[in-house]
Symmetry: C2
């Protein structure tokens, strides 16, 4: 692993990611921090998110409308993606290990590193507003 120096911006970016359940995009993190860190640039957010991925400190959950959504909670847990507003919700808190093809995949020669379960549909908010 490459050498890392301390960086207040890196810390701020990581904290922003971990302080929300919104499964943010890079742009979301940038917009969140920009008021407090006026000289922050979007490139820095992308660069640090790339580092966090390498280090396994965050997980990519999915892409919504072309934007990658990440999660500071790296423990495997299912997500619900609203097809209407694009919000991403946590579902359950523990790993979803039943009905697992991991062993079959191993027998077939695949090295499984992670498993994602994504539900798609309409969230309660959008159902209420009849936006669908």
């Amino acid at each position: 692993m490459a050498k890392r120096n301390y960086s207040s911006k890196r810390n701020a970016i990581y904290n922003a990611i971990c302080s929300t359940h919104s499964h943010p995009s890079a742009r979301w993190v940038y917009d969140k921090l920009k008021p407090d860190v006026p000289d922050l640039s979007l490139g820095t957010v992308y660069r640090n998110i790339a580092l966090f991925k390498e280090e396994g400190k965050i997980q990519v959950v999915c892409s919504v409308n072309g934007e990658e959504r990440i999660d500071g909670n790296t423990s495997p847990h299912p997500h619900f993606v609203c097809n209407c507003c694009g919000n991403v919700y946590d579902v359950g808190t523990e790993s979803d290990n039943n009905s697992d093809y991991s062993s079959e995949l191993s027998e077939m020669g695949f090295a499984v590193q992670s498993k994602y379960v994504l539900y798609y549909g309409i969230c309660p908010e959008c159902l209420k507003k009849n936006l669908h």
Copy 2:
């Protein structure tokens, strides 16, 4: 549903998607068809893929390296995404209905429309080549 005219290109695009297990991207479909349909344009591929999505004739599986990957097989089944080469494989043939949070989500007010199970890891090919 909007009125649709016959279109040989639309047919070709749909057939290309259904004739492969590669879970293709729009670009893949374009490159596949271009030699046989020289006046095909990428915009047409995107426009028709958008139509197929609306009609539910294809499913979006995931995004790999910024490219959306689709599947002409709309029956729910898990997929394996290789973190190394980006190939997407089918896993199992039937729906993965155990360990399902669908009922919990319904009780919570979410309308579940579909469920995706994605495994990430290294495929046998890349393991063999030690590319990881």
